[in-house]
């Protein structure tokens, strides 16, 4: 802005108002709130409102496209009497627990391996992210073929090593179906753990390892008393994310088994979806989905306390 234009701006009364408005908007406190407002509104509209609306729905008999009737906790009572609901609850805890544990152990091992020096290290690190990058639906379809009895490369190998034809029924047997979805979830989530923990490993000062070595610490002791304590905050964060994502997993099960066989792989998210969208019972579906909340909150609090104490 030239000197002349500044003078003109300063001389006119409306411009003074604009100038004072400008200085108001430029104040640190005002500006920070103005910048915070869009994400807050976004969160309120896309997370806060649906959450509150979900609670309201769960307290109603609310068939789709019909006005709701307040029924209090009747939907939750109906879930309590529904044998599928208890099966779903058990499935979800087993699925989340097993997959999270496998991802944690496997991810740590992966990070330790990736932290070593070897040829084409950067390329290997980039390739490791593939399972995480590929859209879940796409990778699940690939797994569908891998586990298919007619085309399964897995069964082909097993039959070659002597397992009787046609090999295990990965998606037809209730136990193997659960094992299959746990393995696929682990395969998909492992890179997230691995890369995040690798980033953590690279922040550990080498002097600590040198000092521990001088003090006579073995490899295991260096890992147990140096690496692990320093990685703990990152493990906590990654585990929290993983528990949340795994507990609410939907796509994998919906595409691969749709909760079958006989609800052996039905999870809270898929069951809530079937009831809300398939049966059109929005209230009942919301009550199933909300059941995840206290369980998830308890899990997260317990994990936080445990890891912090450790």
């Amino acid at each position: 802005m030239s000197v002349r234009s500044e003078l003109i701006v300063a001389a006119s009364p409306p411009a003074r108002r604009t100038a004072s408005h400008a200085s108001w908007a430029d104040r640190q406190s005002v500006f920070s709130w103005l910048m915070m407002a869009p994400p807050l509104l976004f969160l309120g509209a896309l997370v806060g409102y649906p959450f509150c609306y979900g609670i309201l729905l769960s307290l109603q008999d609310r068939p789709v496209a019909h006005p709701g009737t307040f029924v209090g906790l009747k939907n939750f009572a109906a879930n309590f009497n529904d044998p599928i609901f208890w099966r779903v609850a058990l499935n979800t805890f087993v699925y989340t627990g097993a997959a999270t544990l496998l991802k944690m152990v496997g991810g740590l091992a992966l990070a330790l391996a990736m932290n070593q020096r070897f040829p084409l290290k950067n390329l290997v690190r980039a390739l490791l992210l593939l399972p995480f990058i590929v859209p879940t639906v796409l990778s699940t379809v690939a797994w569908m073929w891998i586990l298919d009895p007619a085309f399964s490369v897995l069964n082909w190998v097993l039959v070659l090593v002597g397992v009787p034809k046609p090999g295990p029924s990965w998606l037809g047997n209730p136990i193997l179906a659960m094992v299959s979805i746990i393995v696929i979830n682990t395969w998909r989530g492992l890179p997230f753990y691995g890369i995040t923990l690798l980033a953590g490993l690279q922040t550990v000062p080498p002097e600590l390892y040198e000092a521990a070595t001088i003090d006579g610490a073995s490899g295991w002791q260096r890992f147990r008393y140096v690496t692990l304590p320093l990685l703990q905050p990152i493990i906590l964060i990654v585990t929290l994310f993983s528990v949340i994502f795994t507990f609410a997993d939907f796509q994998l099960v919906y595409v691969l088994t749709h909760g079958g066989p006989q609800n052996a792989t039905q999870l809270f998210a898929t069951y809530a979806f079937d009831i809300a969208m398939g049966a059109g019972q929005l209230g009942l579906g919301a009550s199933v989905a909300l059941t995840m909340l206290p369980a998830l909150a308890l899990l997260i609090v317990a994990l936080t306390i445990y890891l912090r104490r450790g």
Partner: protein
């Protein structure tokens, strides 16, 4: 590059957001059009025909643009739910299975239009009425049934001396035992798919005299000797003619197994033959189709109908009614049916001898099956409770658990417990 001030940034963001909101609204008001929501067809030329030929012809004739919006298989209930909940979106929608009863209050009463169409086209099948009638009103215009029938390998059946498809479930079982011994097992879906499971399990239950709920739509009657006999049959049918994997099958599985020449008999729509003819002609040559076998109480099929409804909140209701009247005229409708051979079986008697049935005579059983086709839950009238039962796979899992080893008594008791919970408030 000129630096932008904080105030300038905020103003720019405000203007941008306002334009983004107002712009499309202004644009959408410019021309008159109606949107038809449809699930993606397994027969691609079917969607192409309406998108291009029919929509263009209608626009030329009336000036009304028809937008044919395709949604993925399985996602239709979600799309209709969103539209019905927000009172905005499409003007006409396709319905599958039990969607007319679920969304009926949001649909226009088209009784008069349906009477007019029926009178002009030889009358409706009873199944057409069953599919769309809600409290005495036609809430949709029936379009077709997508029958679920028996698909069988003529060459492998011939190897065990069978030239025509068995007439009863017991006869089919005897053939299946021999074929499994010959390494040609049957493959009937017992998992959580959308239709191929219900397609044979409800008819099996009915053919033994079993039912979930009585015709009053309230009394749960699943716990009966008839149901027990159907369950016992399903268990031995699975054990002696199939393999474990069918317990986890979804709708795509039997199609894959068929094309891989893994199974000798299944229950599917006509699409299995259509696909084989296009991509596996050698398999198509030895594929035939037949009505479901009969049980002690007769022969039954699943009514897996498609119908079209007009949303009662549509701003172009009259145009939508006019379009449906035009679409259901034989001049348009005949061509649309024909493009998919007979995958979509008309629910109007006027098409009983249409040339489309001569294109592939092996499809004729799909036409004949419509007289014995019913919605899931029959003889009870369609209801929201029935939709919940279907969504929870109660009948499918009753049979599947028995096949996996549970006792007949336990699986029926379990199904009864769930059904009573669903029907508690009725």
């Amino acid at each position: 590059m000129r630096a932008i001030s904080r105030r300038g940034f905020l103003e720019l963001a405000g203007v941008g957001a306002t334009t983004a909101v107002i712009g499309p609204l202004h644009a959408s008001a410019a021309s008159k059009s109606l949107t038809v929501l449809h699930e993606s067809s397994f027969i691609p030329p079917f969607d192409e025909y309406i998108k291009t030929t029919l929509a263009e012809a209608y626009e030329k004739e009336t000036g009304v643009k028809v937008v044919y919006e395709v949604t993925a298989v399985g996602s239709l209930p979600t799309r209709i739910s969103t539209i019905a909940e927000t009172d905005t979106g499409a003007d006409i929608t396709m319905n599958g299975l039990l969607q007319v009863i679920q969304f009926g209050e949001k649909y226009l009463d088209v009784t008069d239009l349906c009477k007019e169409i029926g009178d002009k086209n030889g009358g409706w099948y009873d199944a057409g009425r069953e599919a769309v009638l809600v409290d005495g009103e036609w809430k949709a215009v029936p379009f077709c049934n997508i029958g679920q029938l028996m698909n069988w390998r003529t060459d492998w059946f011939a190897e065990v001396g069978v030239k025509t498809f068995p007439q009863t479930w017991e006869e089919l079982y005897e053939v299946g035992k021999k074929l499994k011994a010959n390494d040609h097992p049957f493959g009937f879906e017992l998992g959580h798919g959308f239709g191929d499971n219900h397609g044979w399990l409800y008819p099996l239950l009915w053919s033994y005299g079993g039912a979930e709920v009585a015709s009053d739509g309230k009394t749960v009657v699943i716990d009966s000797n008839e149901t027990a006999r159907a369950v016992d049959f399903a268990r031995k049918f699975f054990r002696d003619t199939m393999f474990e994997d069918v317990l986890g099958w979804t709708d795509v599985s039997n199609n894959k197994a068929w094309m891989a020449e893994q199974i000798s008999c299944t229950n599917n729509a006509e699409s299995i033959l259509w696909f084989a003819k296009k991509n596996f002609p050698e398999i198509a040559k030895v594929t035939d189709q037949a009505q479901n076998p009969a049980g002690p109480r007769g022969r039954f099929h699943l009514l897996d109908s498609i119908s079209h409804s007009i949303f009662n909140f549509s701003p172009v209701k009259e145009e939508a009614v006019a379009f449906m009247r035009w679409l259901m005229d034989p001049k348009q409708l005949g061509g649309w049916y024909a493009v998919a051979d007979s995958y979509y079986q008309p629910l109007l008697h006027g098409y009983d001898n249409a040339p489309m049935w001569q294109v592939e005579p092996r499809n004729i059983p799909y036409r004949d099956a419509m007289t014995t086709a019913h919605l899931p839950g029959w003889p009870a009238p369609a209801s929201r409770q029935m939709a919940e039962s279907v969504a929870k796979y109660i009948v499918v899992d009753m049979f599947a658990k028995a096949c996996a080893g549970a006792s007949t008594k336990d699986v029926i008791k379990n199904a009864e417990l769930q059904l009573k919970e669903i029907y508690r408030a009725v």
